[in-house]
Structure formats: C-alpha cells, structure tokens
C-alpha cells in the first residue's frame, strides 16, 4: 500500500509540474503580451512595465522563476489590478469558497448516500421512483440554471433567502444547494446502482442465510462494498464543485475564488488566471490523492495489487 500511495504522489507531482509548464507556455503564447490592450502606452512606459514584471529576462529564467514561485504559491502580481499579489487574492478568497464548497460537500454526502441506499432497498417502490426522478433531473440541469432558478424563485419572488453576499447562514442555502445539485444527483444514482449491484451478490445471500440481522447485512456487508465507487467519485466531484463555484459565485455575488476567476477571465488578467488555475489544479490533485488513499484503505484488493 505504501508503494501505491507513493506512486500516486509521484504522479501528482508530475501532473502539477506539467500544469505549471502548460500554463507558462500558454501565458507566453498569448499574442501581443499582457500590456497590448492598454491603449497608446509610450515605449518607455512599456519597457518599464516589462522590466518590472521581469518580462525582459531570458525565457528559461522566467520559466525557472515561475516554477519556483508556483512551488511556494507565489504567482506574482496581478497584471490588471495594480499592486495586488495573486497569492493575496487567493488567500483572501479561498476560505470563502472553501467554506461554501464544504457545505455543498456535506449536503451531497449527508443526502446523497442515505437516499441512494433507501432507493436501492425500496427498489421499484415509491421512494425509489422519487429518488430516480430526482437524480435524472438533477443530472440534466446545469449548475447555472439551478442557481438562477433558486435565486429567482426563492430570492426575488418569495424573498426567503438573500440574493447576494455571505453574511448569515441563510445566505449559504441558495449557493450551496445549487453547487451541490449535480453532484447530489450523481451520488444518489451511483449509490443506488452500486448498492443494487452489491445486494445481488452471493455473500449478501450468505450473510442473510446465516441469520444476521438485516441491519448488519446492509450496513456492514453491503454498504462497505457499495461505497467504493462512491468514494472514487468524490475526487472528481470536488473538481465539479470547484468549477461549479465559478457560476454559483457569479450568480449569488459571493466574493470567492470562482468569482475572481471569472472576473480575471473577462479582464484577461493572465497572471491571476494562471495562478488560480494552478491553485485549482493543486486542490484537485490533492483531493484525488486523498480519495486514492481512502480507496486503498477501503478496498483491500488494492493492497495486494503491487
């Protein structure tokens, strides 16, 4: 197992290094450089700007500096907002997004898994149909549609939840539900189908045959195995919740990372875009690593693989 985890670690470091290189190349490939949009800059000002941002250094040195910076989460200054460091922006906005994402994650796990189990246990009965309809619809509705609908119906029509900001607990309801929506539906579906698959296995029949109480059969024998695919999905799900936060934070006007990211994209603020991308990639990679470790603990087959 140690070997397995070590292997995953190496692959993640390689990934991050690669993303770092790609972002660097892309930043250099942008036609015209970062200052071309500013109109009529005199040549000497342009030179000064380029010198300030070390754009006059040889390319390899810029690259080394960039990688070094990225390794310490230092992505340089913002090109468009004067005197603001990208890392400061991240430090400021990440906790906001993380809190929201965590709430969404808790919603997904606390609702998705139990209802998925319920649907599987009551197969072809009312709870199952309701859960299936919910899951089918949830997967077909994009985050931005769900978010705007919640905002419109509960925010502006009924006035139950605030339409912007994150000042009270009420503010979390709208954004976290719209953030969780897709993943919730997916987890529910996944839990249901995997639970159904496991319940058809022979060892469940054996467990029942030897007279174990139904609770033990479901929670100890079935659930533990049924959760494996669900745990695998939690890694990509974190990525989904992250990208979902771009639109959710835009819709609900929350000063989180997603909103900064979209703003930076619209302003073509390249250092912010690349820095935030790196940061997102790092989070995704770490989450996937964490899931892999959890996976290795949960599934004994992994231990014997290498």
């Amino acid at each position: 197992m140690t070997k397995y985890i070590l292997k995953r670690c190496v692959s993640i470091i390689v990934t991050l290094f690669l993303v770092c290189t790609i972002t660097f190349i892309m930043m250099k490939a942008v036609p015209g450089g970062p200052f071309t949009t500013e109109k009529n800059l005199p040549q000497n000002v342009l030179d000064a700007l380029e010198a300030k941002y070390h754009l006059t250094d040889p390319l390899w040195k810029q690259y080394v500096d960039y990688v070094k910076g990225a390794a310490t989460f230092d992505f340089g200054p913002s090109f468009k907002k004067d005197g603001v460091m990208v890392s400061d922006m991240l430090a400021q906005s990440f906790p906001v997004s993380a809190k929201l994402g965590l709430v969404a994650l808790i919603i997904v796990i606390l609702l998705g898994i139990p209802f998925g189990i319920l649907a599987a246990l009551k197969q072809n009965k009312l709870p199952d149909y309701l859960a299936t309809i919910f899951a089918t619809l949830g997967i077909a509705i994009p985050t931005f549609v769900l978010g705007t609908l919640i905002l419109y119906v509960f925010g502006s029509r009924l006035g139950w939840i605030p339409t912007h900001g994150l000042d009270s607990w009420k503010c979390y309801i709208g954004p976290s539900i719209s953030l969780a929506g897709f993943s919730l539906a997916y987890v529910l579906r996944l839990t249901r189908s995997s639970m159904l698959g496991v319940c058809g296995q022979d060892y469940i029949r054996t467990a029942r045959a030897k007279g174990l109480p139904e609770r033990t059969v479901i929670f100890k024998h079935a659930l533990k195995n049924a959760l494996i695919p669900v745990v695998t999905y939690i890694g990509p799900m974190t990525a989904g919740i992250m990208t979902g936060s771009f639109v959710t934070e835009k819709i609900f006007a929350i000063p989180g990372m997603g909103k900064f990211y979209v703003e930076a994209i619209n302003n073509r603020d390249y250092t912010v875009i690349m820095g935030t991308t790196m940061f997102y990639a790092a989070i995704a990679a770490v989450m996937i690593l964490a899931v892999d470790i959890a996976y290795a603990c949960l599934d004994p087959r992994i231990k014997f693989q290498d």
Binding site: S11, T15, I139, A140, V145, Y152, M274, T277, Y280
Partner: protein
Amino acid sequence: MENTERQITQKDIERVHFTNKESQDITRPSLTYWQDVKRRFLKNKLAILGSVIIILMVLFALFGYLLTSQNYYRQDLTMTNLPPRLECYYLDDETLLYVNSEYSLYTLDNDGTVRERLEPAEENQMMREKTYEVNGQKVVLNYKGAAQAAKARKQGDMQLANSIDTFTLDIGGKTPEMQKVWNKTYRLGTDYLGRDMLARLVYGARISILVALIATFAQFCIGVLYGGVAGYLGGRVDNIMMRIVDIISTVPLTLYVVLLMVVMGPGIKTIIIALGSVYWVDMARQVRGQVLNIKQQEFVLAARTIGASAKRIMLRHLIPNSMSTIIVTLTMNIPSAIFTESFLSFIGLGISAPAASWGTLASDALGGLRSYPYQLLLPSLCICLTVLGFNFLGDGLRDALDPKLRK
C-alpha cells in the same frame, strides 16, 4: 457415431404428429447480436423518448428558422423584452394595447401581431403619467404603483411587492378589459436588444449539436485509437500512454478548456479546438480496458496465427468488438460536452455576440431575470431537454448493448 446410430431401433422412433411438429416450428428466429440489441432497445420506452427528443432537437436546429420570420442578429431597440405571452388590453375590435415593464405602450393586432411602440403625446414625470393618442382615443397610462412595489421590495416585503399593481390603464375614463394573447411576431419573445428569441434558440441548438458532433469526432478519432493502441500493444507503451492519460485527467477538463479559451480567445473555432483536444480521455480509458480484455480471446490469437497485421487486428477485430463500450461512452460524454460549452458561454468564454448559444442566452437573461424569466427558462429548458435526451439514450443503449451491465 455409426455405433450409436445402429443402436436406435424402431421403437425409439415415434411419429411426430403434424400439430406437434407445427408447434415445434414456431420458434423464435435466431437473432444476431445487433438484432437483439435493436429489439431490447425498442422495448425501452425511456430510450425511445430520448431518441425522439434528440431527433426533435436536430430538426429544430435544421428547420427551426421556418418557424420565424426574424433572424438571430437583427436588433430592434423598440421591441426589447417582449414576452411570448402578452397581457393585453382591449382597445377596439382590431387593436390591443400592451404595456411592457418599462411602461411603454405597444399596439397589437388582435391576433397577436406586434405593430409598434407608441410615443406618448404627453408625459407627466411628476404624476408618473403618460398620455397616448391611439386610433383617436385618449389612453392614459399611470405607473405610480411601480415605485411603491420597488420600495416594498427594497424593504424585503415580497408579498406586498408582488401584490401591488404596477400600472393602471385608462381609456376614455374606463379601465379596459384584459386579454391574454400569444405573441405572433416573436413567437418566443425578444431579448434585451429586441432580437428574436426563437431564432436565437435555433442558433443555440445548432451550436449544441455542433459541440455534440465535435465531442463525438474527438472521442472516435483520438480516444478510440489512443485507447486501442495502448491496450493492444500493452507493456511499457501502454504504461506510458496511460500515465499520460492519468496526468491529463487529474486536472479537471474544464480547467484545460478554460485555459485554452483564455489563450485563444472566445469563438466557435476555439470551442472546437478546446473541446476536441480534451474530450477523448475518458474514451481512451474505456477502450483500452475493453481491448485488454478482448485481446486475450482465442479469435485474436487465431487472427494472429493466420498472419493478420496489427492494423487489421485492431480495425477488424478489436475495435468492432468493443463497439458497445464505445457507443455507450460516446452518448454518455456528449451531454457533458454540451454542459461544458454552455458553462463556458455562461461565464463569457464561449460563443460571442451576435452569435448565440444556450449558455450565452441564459447568461444574458440574468440581468432582467426578475421581469423576464422566460429569457432564462427557454434556453435552460433546451439544455435540460437535450441533456435528458442523451442521458436516456445512453442508459437505453447501455442496457441494450450489454445486458450484463444492467442493474
């Protein structure tokens, strides 16, 4: 063989009655794999529904323009934000009046054809009153209620805000009758620049179908080959190729697409390149797994013994035999590509004006959401329906192609 034949005596042979024989005859015809798939697929109602939705969407994209006389880019600033269903007021037998949410008066034919926006003959800003001359009659529009409603909304009293009548119409001292008509000129209404929603939705449908085609093409051309080669060659090549895929898929695909879009600038060409360059990873994995499985089987060994080339084995044996996996992965990934495109357009990275995709339409609708929810609902409905259609189709295909995967 001959021995056993001799041991059969007359006693063992029984004459089969004609009716008995007939009953033996009525057996099911033996089905080939694909016939069986077709049968199972046609039995699945949801899958049929999904295919119908998709066919309708394609028809809508191809021939939707026949439903409207407008085009998707013509702006008419006097015709902004007209909903598909108009709450009109009766003026005379041929003319209806409509008041939009900015308190301008429109005249309509009584079948719902929008005629024009009227200019007030007189406007009293203090009293919030506009006076019009329509067909010789004096029409007074009073929009005092609007300010009260806005005030109530600011105080957070939504019930009060929604209950206040924002304007009153007065024709010759009487309040006219209200009458709801469908908008005939702009069947699904207009957007904030007075462009026809229906025409824009048709354009959006074309974009979505284009995206679906690109995703299909990328998965087929890159994903299937990549996965096939990795699986067939195996060993070190496979290891390296799959590590590359692992690395690519550690970072969410959306991030790559966003990066590519940022660098190349928004536009349809960029969407093609961005989606095409990342949407093959999942397919490559699936096909590799399938090929690894199939290449152990005897018929591949047989093909190899008679000297079939690697290319022939790949194209004639391995890939056709993993077709079920390929088709299922394909239909499952198309909705995700459509999602990604609308998401990119929504955050301002996709299709740029005047072209429209469902994502940009939804994004444009955000500003006026409170007053014109139809502008959000229409594109959202289109996205949801299409994605549902593909999901149903994908589920149905999976059940039909691989009965073992059922449950």
